[in-house]
């Protein structure tokens, strides 16, 4: 299949209106690892013939790291710019592969006049599975032990615990839970703008601690649903020199791989 990435401005110029905007986020756009997730999810959208668009170069950072670091000015500048862009195109529905983008657009853009239906890709995939639109071919993951790392901004922040698990359970694999999961899941260490700085002085790094917890169940795959968790846990696994035995994979990649997209 020839995959396409429809861009909002071009679609509008052709008089077309997408049903949903795929919000890529900065990690998904620029981080090499996260780009693979963006591509995997775009392939799924293509395969299911979903009428979507991306904003392309009109997308800007949501402002999340600035706001959480305490810099409200930069947040407001970026957020108001994004709200203007989205409102200008009359966007109604947004899907994000990043829980931070998801949280801030869903919960914090409304105060700035940006009201949209915002869902995370785990929820979107769950819906598509439930509606029977997305079918998963088993096989590739048969017998594999998969554990899921809860992202703070999906889980505690927004109460989304089941959607990513439903997606994993659609595969022909074993979902094994670690002790500290769901509400008690430990942060990967990247939130609150920690991604962009060193840990404060302490005994160890947070991602190391979290990776140890995840490794307790001897997984073949650690599934994630956030680009920052992905980076942090990947680094953690590398630190333990286990990168050949344990793969850190986003749920969108699991699906696209299972279906060999």
């Amino acid at each position: 299949m020839q995959y396409k990435v429809p861009v909002m401005s071009e679609m509008v110029a052709e008089g077309k209106i997408p049903d949903v905007v795929f919000w890529i986020g900065c990690a998904g756009s620029f981080d090499q690892r996260a780009q693979r997730v963006t591509i995997a999810f775009t392939k799924i959208l293509n395969q299911l013939q979903i009428n979507f668009a991306v904003l392309g170069t009109e997308e800007a950072c949501t402002g999340d790291p600035a706001r959480r670091a305490g810099n409200e000015f930069i947040f407001q500048m970026l957020a108001q710019q994004n709200v203007a862009t989205l409102n200008n195109y009359g966007v109604k529905k947004i899907v994000c592969t990043c829980p931070h983008c998801f949280n801030i657009i869903k919960n914090e853009y409304p105060q700035l006049g940006g009201n949209y239906e915002v869902i995370h890709h785990s929820q979107y995939l769950q819906q598509l599975l439930n509606e029977g639109k997305l079918k998963v071919e088993g096989g590739v993951f048969k017998g594999k032990r998969i554990t899921y790392h809860d992202s703070c901004y999906l889980g505690r922040a927004n109460g989304i615990y089941e959607a990513p698990r439903d997606v994993i359970e659609a595969l022909d694999a074993d979902l094994v839970e670690i002790n500290k999961c769901r509400t008690t899941g430990l942060c990967c260490g990247a939130g609150g703008a920690q991604m962009w700085k060193e840990d404060e002085p302490g005994r160890k790094r947070i991602n190391e601690e979290r990776t140890e917890q995840l490794m307790e169940v001897y997984p073949d795959i650690i599934a994630v649903a956030c680009p920052y968790c992905n980076t942090m846990i990947t680094d953690g696994v590398k630190g333990k020199e286990k990168q050949d035995d344990i793969k850190v994979v986003d749920i969108a990649e699991l699906i696209s791989k299972a279906n060999s997209y």
Partner: protein
């Protein structure tokens, strides 16, 4: 009424009146402190509030995340509430100079059974509480529970925790002295006692003592019980045990928003809008605009109520990723510092008048920037708190001040800020490259 009874009534009124006077003055001080916070509208319905309060405070829902301590705590909590029923009679007796007025009023009719049942219930719970309290003391002193071994508990908080447990033990001993001495006397004088299971049993063992001694035991128990309750009342507002009261309003005002949402700053929003669109009219605001919080009264009243409601249980800190990995940040300490700062300011105002300042502030002198920088905004602390406290809100308000007023941010964050400003991404990539990933689609 004989002379001794009059003296007793006067003593009783003096003790109870004095205690209430002192306690209420302190409670008022706390109320005023909370009201000094910034306004915050909590957008929840009455039904949501009631539900939160009943489930979380009354039903102790969150406590049951850790089953064993929750059970022990529940025993103490129920026993504390139920024991107060006996106080009703103590109060009536105290004011009127009577002795077991309710028992004698009910004697012979159906309510007598109920009375005996209630006292039995109190006594059995009290005995159970006695053992639970000893377990709690051991847990604090002997078993090394990590969340009770942290630096912020050194000194007063440590003593506070043990003191109250000692109170509890003394109170229970007094209850049993009172009821057992009384039962023994009743037995000797009327040939039958009240029918209390436990104190009847203890009383039976005491019948060999002279009546004077029994009377002394009973009265010591009665006055001791009363004195402990009054001491507790006066002591409460200085202690973490204030949570037994404040847990109710604090859970009533649980914030209904998703935990991931942080509060907007309308002043900055308007300013930025007017930068983008010069024709935009910024709504008038009253007073100076301060970015975030430098000191306690820059926080919202809910954050201040949070601080007074903290039980110092450390469940937040035990779940905090920064703390677990050895960083200085401890969300419990954030709450304790906020309360201590308010108390220090209150003391200062009492000594030096209402305009008291000491050139200190919550940010910097109580909570260091290193602590603030360590937070990942993961909400684990908020999730764990058994009384709906949100340490993260305070952390974020202080961070806002640190970054925007003091312009004190780690160099990596400064880089990130300038990238976001110039490239609309936290990394140094050109905005025109945003869609480059699409070239690798096929």
């Amino acid at each position: 009424m004989n002379f001794l009874t009059v003296i007793q009534i006067l003593l009783f009124i003096g003790l109870v009146g004095g205690s209430f006077f002192v306690a209420i003055r302190k409670f008022k001080e706390i109320y005023d402190n909370v009201n000094k916070g910034r306004p915050e509208h909590i957008p929840s319905t009455f039904f949501f509030r009631l539900k939160s309060m009943l489930l979380i405070a009354f039903g102790q829902k969150k406590m049951f995340k850790l089953t064993f301590p929750a059970f022990l705590h529940l025993v103490i909590y129920v026993s504390f509430v139920i024991t107060q029923i006996e106080l009703i009679e103590i109060f009536i007796d105290g004011f009127t100079g009577n002795h077991r007025i309710l028992y004698h009023a009910f004697e012979g009719n159906a309510l007598e059974k109920l009375y005996v049942f209630v006292i039995n219930f109190i006594e059995i719970l009290s005995l159970l509480t006695f053992f639970v309290t000893i377990l709690f003391i051991l847990r604090r002193t002997t078993f090394k529970v990590r969340r009770f071994q942290m630096p912020e508990l050194k000194g007063w908080p440590w003593k506070d925790a043990l003191l109250i447990l000692a109170f509890e033990l003394t109170l229970i001993i007094f209850i049993f002295m009172m009821n057992s001495g009384d039962s023994a006397l009743e037995m000797k004088e009327h040939g039958k006692d009240y029918g209390f299971l436990l104190s009847g049993l203890f009383g039976n063992m005491l019948t060999g003592l002279p009546n004077g001694a029994l009377f002394f035991i009973e009265k010591t128990g009665w006055w001791g019980h009363l004195c402990m309750v009054m001491t507790f009342l006066v002591y409460l507002p200085y202690s973490k045990h204030l949570h037994i009261l404040l847990a109710f309003p604090n859970t009533y005002f649980t914030r209904p928003e998703p935990k991931g949402e942080i509060h907007n700053m309308p002043a900055i929003m308007h300013e930025v809008t007017s930068m983008i669109d010069p024709s935009y009219k910024v709504p008038a605001t009253d007073g100076e605009i301060k970015f975030g919080a430098k000191d306690v009264y820059d926080l919202s009243w809910k954050s201040l109520l949070d601080a007074y409601s903290c039980t110092e249980c450390g469940r937040c800190t035990a779940a905090c990723p920064a703390n677990i990995t050895g960083k200085k940040l401890s969300p419990r300490k954030i709450m304790m510092d906020t309360r201590d700062r308010m108390e220090d300011l209150t003391r200062g105002r009492k000594l030096h008048g209402p305009d008291f300042t000491d050139n200190k502030s919550l940010l910097g002198d109580y909570i260091t920037k290193e602590e603030l920088r360590a937070c990942t905004t993961c909400n684990a602390c908020v999730e764990e708190c058994p009384v709906s406290i949100n340490p993260l809100t305070i952390i974020l308000e202080l961070r806002r001040n640190m970054i925007m007023e003091e312009a004190d941010s780690p160099p990596e964050w400064n880089n990130m800020f300038s990238n976001m400003e110039n490239n609309q991404a936290p990394w140094q990539f050109s905005p025109s490259d945003r869609l480059n990933w699409a070239n690798e689609m096929n």
